[in-house]
């Protein structure tokens, strides 16, 4: 089983009102010096098979067609070493 992560972020030039709201809240909680917050989404995808170029191309297609909107967002695809089940198993030991 392959575990692939897709990070989706609003493009730098696109206004990010949610990030702005978080940025506004941090100083009220006593966190100083924070200059910018951008809020995005992280998708953890577990998919049958080994990590191959073909599989990554498939995830790239998912990211482009559904997970992100190319008009307002950029995405990056990363491969993760372990599946969620493996991580849970490790943590439980």
């Amino acid at each position: 089983m392959a575990r692939v992560v897709v990070d989706v972020m609003p493009k730098p030039e696109i206004l990010d009102p949610q990030g702005k709201a978080v940025l506004g809240a941090l100083p009220r909680l006593g966190f100083t010096g924070v200059r910018e917050v951008r809020q995005g989404k992280r998708f953890e995808i577990e998919i049958d098979g080994e990590v191959t170029d073909e599989l990554l191309a498939q995830v790239d297609k998912m990211a482009e067609t559904l997970l992100s909107n190319p008009v307002i967002e950029d995405y990056e695809v990363h491969v993760e070493e372990h599946t969620v089940a493996e991580i849970a198993h490790e943590a439980g030991r």
Binding site: P17, N69, V71, I72
Partner: protein
Amino acid sequence: MKIGVVTFPGSLDDVDARRAAEVGGHEAVALWHGDEDLRGVDAVVLPGGFSYGDYLRCGAISRFSPVMTPVIEAAQKGMPLLGICNGFQILCESHLLPGALIRNDHRKFVCVDQRLRIERVDTPWTSAYEQDQEITVVLKNGEGGYIADEATLDMLEGEGRVVARYLGRNPNGSLRDIAGVSNERGNIVGLMPHPEHAIEALTGPGTDGLGFFTSLVEAVLA
């Protein structure tokens, strides 16, 4: 004419849109997001609401509903298609219209009687209006900020594809005060404000929105 109004899980304004179609002199046909054909309708309205709970992005899941396959196919052949609010978001996600709609710049939900100027009147949804006619209809959205890159905005303005523009204070951060746009041909229109809530004096700010539902007849008879 038969106007189909699609109900997605989470649609809110489908009943008002059907009523507006009937008050406009048409037969309203309820379509379901799982339908695979359009039941012989002549035009389709994608109504407002929170289809699929606005999960992922507004309109992103709806775009892949079974009913959208025949809707997109028919619209590309010239069938009149109007997306209101969430429907406009679905049209942008479907790439039938350029640009995208993002969260209001002031981060609050807005619900107001909004003045608009109708700037394109050669579409099947707006032919009942005079060029640059000013109307007041309801505007209610959380993610109504229309954005596109400068080149796309210039193209929309240059080709006369801005259908409606906000008057007065910009209510949601939409670039160049754009409230609605169309495809080149004009049969596909996306609009953030809600004309279907302004068709009867008793329940809305007036009847200025009715033109969107009487235009179809004029377009056919013209």
